[in-house]
């Protein structure tokens, strides 16, 4: 028995030595390596595979090669921590010599990576919008728009519905603040007033105490990250019987249909902002949804669409440079890309921020099937801070 234990340990060490040693150069055409930092463990563990599906779809549309150079995807686990993301980014850049990194998801991780990736001249992207602060580095592709731009329409929408005052529940981290600043900006632009901001830590198990102590207002808007926090907040909000209408951000992504089914009728009638729904009525989308269903066996959501659109635009840029992934060539090429994505038309500003449609959706139950239905579109939303 002891020998087995030792043998396993020794094998482990040898394997590690083998992998640490420099990778062998092949004589075939150098692959174009694309790094992806996705969540496979930690609080957002379920999102990694979804993002990956979108990326894989985009790569396969090019048959995984551009200008004779194979496309190679290297996936790393973000583990939900900015520090781990930075470590993984260093591995991708310094060991794998990657020039393109897709991800990470969370705003604070993006801010942590910012200085390093700018310094190394790597094309970086968020996964689901990104922080405006990153535009100063001039190497971040921000799709579909900045965090603030993404939620701007929700503020407008709430004001358009005649609400004068609002309470905000904000996840206390970089992304949360940016999202809710968007709602606030939109709401105040149209004459609304925010009367209370409730900051909640990421991963809050019990929102009860927060919900019990909300001030009175015409409506409540929230952003909390991930399915877990969002679904707990929605459930607990209903349980406590608060009468104020509730508006959510990033809804279709955080509460996809199978989660809605589990939440049941609690969720019906919930309105909020979303960036993509599978039922969008445009030909590109219809074709794409079919392809995704065929390839992965399930209906895609906003996350897969997001990573798909980002990857597609990068690949289009790569095609334009003839497969040259050098940052100084690739960056301008990607910024010039104009394409129709399932989500709508895509174009980048000179800061690298996409101007995509913003959708307001409502949770409905039709024939026993729960779904998000788009009820309003705000085309080509623009972060007011952009020139």
């Amino acid at each position: 028995m002891k020998k087995i234990g030792l043998a396993l340990l020794v094998v482990g060490l040898l394997v590690s030595l083998g992998l640490v040693s420099p990778t062998q150069k092949s004589f075939a055409a150098e692959p174009i390596k694309i790094g992806a930092i996705l969540n496979y463990t930690g609080p957002a563990a379920m999102l990694g595979p979804l993002f990956k599906n979108g990326i894989v779809m985009a790569l396969e549309e090019y048959n995984s090669q551009i200008a004779g150079r194979p496309l190679e995807l290297i996936v790393e686990d973000a583990a939900g921590s900015p520090n781990v993301c930075l470590e993984k980014a260093r591995k991708l850049v310094e060991r794998d010599k990657v020039k393109i990194i897709i991800g990470p998801l969370m705003g604070d991780a993006q801010l942590a990576l910012g200085p390093y990736l700018a310094n190394k001249g790597v094309l970086a992207t968020g996964l689901y919008c990104a922080m405006f602060e990153l535009t100063k580095y001039q190497n971040w592709l921000i799709y579909p728009t900045t965090a603030l731009g993404l939620t701007l329409p929700l503020g407008w929408y709430a004001a358009d519905k005649g609400h004068k005052t609002m309470v905000m529940i904000i996840a206390d981290y970089a992304g949360g603040h940016a999202f809710m600043k968007g709602v606030r900006t939109g709401f105040e632009e149209k004459g609304g007033k925010v009367v209370q901001e409730v900051l909640v830590p990421v991963g809050t198990a019990d929102f009860g105490p927060y919900i019990s102590n909300l001030k009175n207002a015409d409506c409540v808007a929230f952003f909390v990250p991930n399915t877990g926090d969002s679904s707990r907040l929605v459930t607990q909000y209903k349980e406590f019987g608060v009468k104020m209408p509730l508006y959510g951000t990033t809804l279709a992504a955080d509460l996809p249909e199978h989660v809605m089914k589990e939440l049941g009728d609690k969720v019906v009638g919930l309105q909020g902002q979303a960036l993509y729904i599978w039922s969008l009525d445009n030909p590109v989308n219809k074709k794409w949804v079919k392809a995704m269903e065929k390839r992965f066996g399930k209906t895609p959501g906003g996350l897969a669409n997001n990573s798909y659109c980002i990857t597609s635009s990068i690949l289009a840029g790569l095609k334009a440079t003839g497969g040259d992934e050098t940052f100084s060539k690739l960056w301008p090429a990607v910024l010039k890309v104009k394409m129709d994505t399932p989500q709508g038309p895509l174009a980048y500003t000179k800061e690298g921020v996409a101007l995509a449609n913003g959708y307001i959706v409502e949770a409905k139950r039709i024939n026993g099937r729960y779904s998000w239905d788009p009820i309003k579109v705000y085309p080509a939303v623009r972060d007011p801070r952009l020139k």
Partner: protein
Amino acid sequence: MENLVINLLNGLSYGMVLFLIASGMSIVMGAMNIINLSHGVLYMIGGYVGWTVAVKLGAPFALGLLAGGLAAGLVGLMLERGFLRFLYKQPNEQVLLSFGFVYILSNLSLWVWGGWPRMPFTAKFLSGSFEILGRAYPKARFATIVFGLVLAGILWWLQDRTRVGAMVRAGMDNKEITMGLGINLERLFAIVFFVASFIAGLAGVIGAQLLGVYNALGLEILLLALIVIIVGGVGSIQGALLGGILIGLVDAFGKALFPRFAMFTMYFTMIIVLLLKPRGLFGRKV
């Protein structure tokens, strides 16, 4: 006034979940001198199994409760019989081994149940809310308080009135004497560990009424359990109950009054207790 009552109820219901998770861990620490860091993961497994039975298979909530408890109990028993029993009196090794199982069991349950969190669920007759002082309050939370108090009563009875409880108390005071009395310590420890894990599983299902179940819960709840044990003292049901309620209330009122410092208030309370009573409110020498 209504706010005060609602906050109080919030604190109590959350506190009861904390009590349930901390009590088993605390007894195992006190009676067996075993630090089991995978206790939080047992809680999570209980919650997941409870969900599978009560929601996925549509069985009654009580059955889910039982299934959750049993599943966690059996996993716990396997841990004790297969591994921890070789490590009595080796606290450092226990720490590392049980943390290894935190990694393994969390990842395995990620495999089995996927990363999507499960929504809070409860028995049919407990869903919905009733009115207190003109404010709606969820029934399930009230039920959690009742569950917690009932289990506290049962544990108290087990510890103070039964033979096993007497042996455990004797074992805490003096291991040699217990062995001298001809008690089969091996069997006693296995029973204690099973019961503690069983309670963790129950807690998982009861807590799921408020919190649902998700993969990161194993570690989150472990940290909370440690805080409760520090406040309440190792090896005492009373300590775990008082610690759980105190931390639950501090959490509820902290979130209500100083939402910006939600995390800080809990740790701050812990340190204040430590400064006044280094072994916790009901701590004994270990």
